[in-house]
């Protein structure tokens, strides 16, 4: 859909997902790395456990569908080349420290002098202004300052971090939304603008009901381990249930929303011989989560837990699908690759990596369009892979390129 758009992607791992999203939507995204390669290529793991900047799986995951060039934008010549590229571009995305681009004359005002319609996105840990703007980040630090960390973990233990970095993904996805809103405006007016994305804010944006619970009840939602807090006056509801060979997640939800799933589960338990009279006689439509007592909750959790424990996760998912019971088995990575639904929807894509002599299975597409292919089509670029292709497009000769390479500019 965006095949007429060009994106200059200067980000490191803080912003990869923005360019990746636009690339999947069809934009020509040019990943610009410093000569020698982006430091984020050092992020592990690596293909076949061989540490190598051309084998970083993190790099692969979020830079597929992008072309790649090398350029030292801190050198005078490099800066001029970058400005030439800006003339051909619609978007510039970057994740340098707050003033870095301004110091190079490449802040939004500098870029808009070159190209009035340019849309710039800056992704920083905390935002370009404000008391935390110069704070150093790490995913655990940002997730802690966003509120997510505090609420995750055992009730009697410390907060627990999601060990896969998340804040950069919230920010990258938000940046994609921000630049698209700016793009819509530009298509109406011809004017670009600057999108300022903070990882902290993007991660803090969704906190379920924690903020209104604080505002209305002066109650801080606390960590509840395997339970879900904040839905009832007095009790938490178990979410994580051991099953015969692992774990399944299931939520007791009140009112008509939960009734369908709960009554289907009870029917299933009845057929299986595991239902109690209490469960069978329950009026799930009028079951109220807010006022449920601990005693009632126990009468539900006991037999339901027993039922889950006596089945495998595969049996539980297999039975849940036709009955419409909302059970989520905890998928391993292997389970995901074999998941029936993902397979049938052709979610996985095999992407060729000729240098590795193989193809690799990738998450294939975040949306299916009836008009346009939005899937992962080609692997992430090697260091400087498209230098010749891109630089000759803006009028540099092969001789120029040799010189630029010798002087370390590309």
């Amino acid at each position: 859909m965006l095949s007429h758009c060009r994106v200059l992607d200067l980000t490191d791992d803080k912003g990869f997902l923005c360019g990746k999203t636009l690339a999947d939507l069809g934009a020509d995204v040019i990943k610009i790395e410093r000569p020698g390669g982006d430091p984020s290529r050092k992020i592990g793991g690596f293909w076949k456990d061989i540490p190598d900047p051309e084998k970083s799986l993190y790099w692969f995951a979020y830079n597929s569908n992008k072309r790649g060039i090398t350029l030292n934008i801190e050198s005078a010549e490099g800066l001029e080349i970058f400005k030439k590229l800006v003339k051909t571009a619609d978007f510039v995305i970057e994740s340098f420290p707050p003033d870095y681009m301004d110091k190079l004359g490449l802040g939004y005002s500098g870029l808009s002098e070159i190209n009035k319609g340019i849309i710039m996105a800056s992704i920083t840990p905390f935002g370009r202004e404000g008391p935390y703007r110069d704070y150093k980040d790490s995913d655990i630090v940002v997730m802690g300052m966003s509120g997510t960390l505090y609420q995750t973990g055992e009730s009697d233990g410390p907060p627990v971090h999601i060990s896969m970095p998340q804040a950069c993904l919230h920010a990258g996805a938000d940046a994609a939304v921000g630049v698209m809103i700016a793009y819509h405006y530009r298509e109406m007016t011809g004017e670009g603008q600057h999108v300022d994305v903070s990882m902290q804010q993007s991660a803090a944006w969704f906190q379920a009901n924690a903020i209104p619970t604080w505002e209305l009840n002066r109650k801080n939602l606390k960590r509840a381990g395997a339970f879900r807090a904040g839905m009832s006056k007095d009790v938490g509801q178990r979410q994580v249930w051991p099953c015969r060979d692992g774990y399944v997640f299931f939520n007791v939800i009140g009112g008509r929303t939960g009734a369908k799933s709960l009554s289907a589960l009870v029917e299933w338990m009845e057929a299986d011989g595991g239902a109690t009279d209490f469960l069978s006689n329950m009026d799930w439509d009028n079951f109220d989560m807010f006022t449920v007592t601990k005693e009632e909750m126990d009468k539900i959790s006991g037999p339901v837990g027993e039922f889950f424990r006596s089945h495998t996760s595969k049996e539980l998912l297999g039975g849940a699908v036709p009955r419409g019971v909302s059970i989520g088995p905890l998928s391993s990575m292997g389970d995901l690759l074999n998941d029936e639904c993902l397979r049938e929807r052709h979610f996985w894509k095999e992407i060729e990596h000729p240098e590795l002599g193989t193809s690799i299975t990738y998450p294939g597409e975040f949306v299916k369009s009836s008009e346009v292919d939005c899937s992962t089509r080609f692997r992430a670029p090697l260091i400087g892979e498209h230098n010749e292709e891109v630089y000759t497009e803006i009028g540099l000769s092969k001789q120029d390129l040799i010189k630029l390479k010798q002087s370390g500019i590309i």
Binding site: G45, P131, V195, G230, F347, V367, E371
Partner: protein, 409 residues
């Protein structure tokens, strides 16, 4: 269709939305916050699950006084329609045809049941843009499986990355965590689809699965499995790339601070700030490899220091010497966070049933066209009359007649 125009990037754009839970409104908010007229169809026969979710104003369950719902639905208009009735379905069709975008995230099958499937809508308007955003996709083997974020989190594999070695996997404490993932992808895609229609005249069907978008937040882990065949292990608060790396106890009840040291320079600075410069020279901790090896011991040393201090002090002192550290913020802390408030993440607005109530605001800043708090979250059906009579131009008599038939319940 005459619209009550709001200023903003999407001024004049109208969206008809059958939203459910959080995914729907979060997607629509991006548009509504920038001036679009978003018409959300609801019914008192079966109000959105968020309307019957805690917390409530004054602790009394009430569809219009739910903090969960009202936090996420500012700027959106509510049209009440009892879709069991053919007249209601007709109104929905009229709106679908006149709106720029049709969005829904109901369990697949509902739209078809009401004659609002893509093929039918396309017959009424050839260039319609329809966004479907169900849990597992609008087609495929799980299409009938009711989806909640709480269940999508495990099925997408996230709890494999949350918890302590050898202990049970944990949910993300912010429950229904995946609810904030697909709205971003959906919004970027919808804006691209609007552009595509402007340029080609073609509409389209967009089918998004919350399950699939959630996997985009785990892509590197999936590739690691493809590469090595290994499954992830729960590693608590440690990191393969940094040590020390964790959450440390501070003074006070349930107060914590994170610290993440990813290179030797940060380590030296941390030692100095702890008043223990000798550790910087200690062979046991001098290199990353040794720090990682002696991590438990190290965490004990740091914890002993942090527990003497307020979390804010640890953060400020370490950040001042270039060591990444931050207060583990509770909801109360986040609510008062100076950085987030400066960036307008919250919009306090007067709500007729809630009184002054904080609505969720923006997640990023646009320099020329900032998002705006136009209106508080709607009461159920608050804009029904306005939408029917003003926007659709329905004569008053017809409106009253339909009302008496229960069409607007």
């Amino acid at each position: 269709m005459e619209m009550n125009k709001r200023e903003g990037v999407f001024s004049g754009l109208t969206i008809l939305a059958f939203c459910w839970a959080v995914v729907g409104p979060l997607t629509m908010k991006f548009f509504a916050d920038h001036g679009a007229t978003v018409i959300r169809v609801e019914t008192s026969k079966r109000p959105c699950t968020m309307r019957s979710s805690a917390p409530y104003k004054d602790n009394v369950p009430n569809y219009n006084k739910g903090g969960y719902f009202n936090y996420y639905n500012s700027n959106i208009l509510s049209l009440s329609l009892n879709m069991q009735l053919p007249e209601a379905r007709e109104i929905a069709k009229r709106l679908a045809v006149e709106c720029d975008v049709f969005m829904e995230n109901y369990t697949p099958g509902n739209m078809e049941k009401w004659g609002l499937g893509y093929e039918e809508l396309k017959k009424l308007r050839t260039d319609i843009i329809m966004m479907r955003q169900s849990g597992y996709g609008s087609w495929g083997p799980y299409k009938n499986l009711p989806a909640f974020g709480m269940v999508l989190v495990p099925i997408a594999g996230l709890p494999n990355f949350i918890g302590w070695p050898g202990k049970e996997p944990l949910p993300v404490g912010v429950s229904a965590y995946t609810d904030c993932i697909s709205p971003r992808f959906a919004t970027a895609t919808l804006i691209a689809a609007l552009d595509y229609r402007r340029k080609t005249g073609k509409g389209q069907l967009l089918d998004l699965s919350q399950f699939e978008t959630a996997l985009y937040f785990l892509s590197p882990a999936i590739l690691e499995h493809v590469s090595s065949g290994r499954e992830p292990e729960r590693i608590g608060n440690s990191s393969p790339d940094a040590a020390p790396h964790g959450v440390y106890p501070c003074q006070g009840d349930d107060r914590w601070c994170t610290i993440a040291v990813s290179d030797d320079e940060e380590w030296v600075n941390l030692c100095r700030e702890m008043g223990r410069p000798e550790y910087a020279e200690d062979q046991r901790y001098k290199t990353f490899i040794n720090r990682k090896k002696n991590e438990d011991e190290l965490n004990g040393i740091i914890g002993a220091w942090t527990s003497q201090l307020a979390a804010e002090d640890v953060m400020e002192r370490l950040q001042a010497v270039g060591v990444p550290a931050g207060v583990v913020k509770s909801a109360a802390d986040v609510f008062d966070d100076p950085q987030l408030n400066k960036r307008n993440i919250y919009w306090p607005m007067e709500h007729s049933e809630m009184g002054m109530f904080t609505h969720l605001g923006q997640s990023f800043q646009l320099s020329k066209t900032p998002s705006k708090a136009y209106s508080p979250s709607p009461l159920l059906g608050e804009h029904t009359e306005y939408i029917c009579t003003e926007l659709l131009g329905m004569p008053d008599e017809e409106f009253i007649d339909l009302m008496q038939k229960g069409v607007f319940e």
